[in-house]
Symmetry: C2
Subunit: 410 residues, 2 copies
């Protein structure tokens, strides 16, 4: 008996934001079932449900225990799966809903940010003998003791990709409120265009640079288990963006996306004594306070004194300042300066691996327009520049143009 | 090592109706923990949560499948247990929350009205090695396939009593928004008073007569497993009403409670042919439409024609009428009359078993005040009379007085 492969689809919070939206999602699913598909459908909590639950928790305590927070928040997805099942029944589709516990999405015990370790597919495969659609609560899992865990931000994407991997599904469709992955944020770059394809590593860099479409962990999972992701809108039937292995990319672009981050600050520690272990001491102190340090540059002056500069998220500036002042006091050396008027502009593309001169081209266009580069960091497929905040959006558009990403004028 | 017995407490929806109320419940629980107790605390969904979830379901479909309805509704209790655990942590009490699945409250597969079959106490007993308070979601269970079930109206009471039975707890305290069980509804009988004790069977009769304090199934469970229930208010520290085995009742009353039901109608079928199986045919037809028939009286006239009268809930009158008209047509005999202007007034008490004359006393007081009795039904511990609706509250107060239930004038 030949059987179409199981499809895995994920619908995000705005896609199931109201009972009317849930009915629309049910209609979409029904169209796949009519074409002979069996589907696993992963759903997030309805719209603002999670925020509302968080609000209740903070009415009770400023420090909710993570295990209980996961117990609380996981109810949001459970409501969605039940309502979606009802909406499918209403239009004659055989469907059944499952919590993560019921389909054994096993995670570690890291409450609020758990990692999926294993999914047993027995229950789902058995359910497909009676139902065309199995609806699974996203964002949640269970640890070895059946405590409910949650997977952190964007966790439903990870649930969907992990289920696709476990079921050896042909594709994982991630339905969201945008049409796909764009070469840049269309709000800032009017000529940004939707990508047909993007490589896992590019998507990972873009995700870590704040492109909110897909969460990094879901992409890592997809890369590891070779799951093709299709990011698309649940509000129309337009083809979206395929996230695929690099070797499958048809149209190789030098740069596939450019991003702008405005919520970072540059911290500089000057006159740092030039002795071994001094940088380690500084960054260990910062790590102990859970401060995410990003771009780091160290330079040595003529007098053998060093300057260490790095960026931190704006929200961590005050804590970072306190930590560094303690360290400086201990060293009996060093001065601190903080600049919050910066932006980080980045270009990402696997094409960089095989083409030289991309960084030079980026620096040149900024120089040509009088934009000074304060810090630079590069990876195999990414170049980031720290510039003055006031030049951020101009720089973004210039780089978007120089790498031929602009959509045709229309 | 001597150890205080585990206490089981249940807090209803109004008792945990807001985050402030949840904090108040946490303070109450903390006072027991400070006295050295370990507690299992069963909670219902917050206030109107269940109504809100039901509303969402009916926005999607007029006929929600029961399995999915249980999946949906069980989230209400899960929110409550997580929030109560947080509130206890906030005031330094070690507590952990569990869903019914996590503590293996196993039920049959009768979704929306499941019966508890078994509770495994391993997880709870193990949790008490680390925590003073285990919070368990009420109203829910899991069937043999780990599908989530719910226990029907008043299900959280049943959860609490079943846990008390499984843990051999000394007592099950049911916290609610009233001070206990009253001799009559204080809104209708101003001189009604709170009972210190009531026997299981009396409580069962009162529950089935519409006294909403405790659900019948919880009382049946308590009787079967000999669990003492203490019904009391979560809004004060007054002693409530103990529901206990009959032999433990200290002050034996002839009658412990009187009730009035205004939402029944009397259906009479006259001129019913006198042949075997005719009543069975009628009531089978009604049962097939799930109509709950209550008081039944059959009388035979001089002409060998029978009259069958019975009461049905007001909401079932129209369906009952259709069913009966079909039956009459088939019989080619009989006439139907329906009276919606009736009330059912009842007296309940285990004292009736050993005292004669109670029914006579009740009939006499009604007769003395010109109240005609239209139908009578009795059980070992209950007498019910159908009277005209307009006399309902007067009859209730008269019977309350004649059996010496009135509180002293204050």
């Amino acid at each position: 008996m030949s059987q179409l492969p199981i499809l895995v689809q994920k619908y995000g919070g705005t896609s199931v934001g109201s009972t009317d939206r849930i009915k629309a999602v049910a209609e979409r699913i029904a169209s796949y079932v009519r074409n002979g598909h069996k589907l696993v459908v992963v759903v997030s909590a309805m719209g603002k449900t999670t925020d509302e639950l968080v609000r209740l928790a903070y009415e009770i305590t400023a420090h909710p225990h993570k295990r209980e927070m996961d117990m609380l928040l996981s109810t949001g997805e459970q409501v969605s799966i039940a309502l979606l099942a009802m909406a499918l029944h209403e239009i004659g589709v055989s469907a059944v809903s499952f919590t993560a516990a019921q389909v054994h999405i096993k995670t570690d015990q890291n409450f609020s940010n758990a990692r999926i370790e294993k999914i047993e597919t027995d229950r789902l495969l058995k359910a497909f003998q009676s139902y065309d659609v199995c609806i699974v609560a996203g964002f949640q899992g269970v640890d070895a003791d059946w405590n409910i865990t949650t997977l952190g931000r964007g966790g439903s994407d990870t649930s969907a990709v992990a289920l696709a991997a476990a079921l050896k599904a042909s594709e994982c469709e991630i339905f969201t409120d945008v049409d796909g992955v764009y070469t840049a944020d269309p709000n800032k770059v009017p000529r940004a265009r939707k990508l047909d394809q993007i490589a896992y590593d590019e998507m990972l860099e873009l995700a870590s640079l704040g492109a909110g479409v897909l969460h990094s962990r879901a992409v890592e999972f997809a890369k590891k288990y070779n799951v093709r992701i299709h990011v698309r809108s649940s509000f129309n039937f337009t083809k979206g963006t395929q996230v695929v292995p690099e070797e499958e990319i048809m149209e190789k672009l030098l740069v596939t996306g450019v991003t702008l981050k405005n919520d970072e600050a540059r911290v500089s520690v000057q006159e740092v004594p030039d002795r071994p272990g001094i940088a380690a001491e500084l960054f260990t102190a910062l790590a102990e306070k859970n401060i995410n340090v990003d771009i780091i540059v160290q330079s040595t002056g003529q007098d053998k004194k060093n300057t260490i500069s790095f960026t931190v998220p704006m929200g961590d500036v005050q804590t970072a300042q306190e930590v560094i002042e303690n360290v400086i006091q201990k060293w009996e050396a060093g001065t601190l300066s903080i600049d919050t008027e910066i932006a980080v502009v980045s270009a990402v593309g696997v094409g960089m691996k095989s083409h030289s001169g991309i960084a030079a081209k980026m620096f040149q266009v900024l120089a040509d327009h009088g934009i000074n580069i304060e810090m630079i960091t590069t990876s195999e497929i990414k170049i980031s520049c720290v510039i003055a905040k006031k030049h951020g959006e101009e720089a973004l558009r210039l780089i978007h143009s120089i790498f031929d990403l602009d959509a045709p004028q229309g």
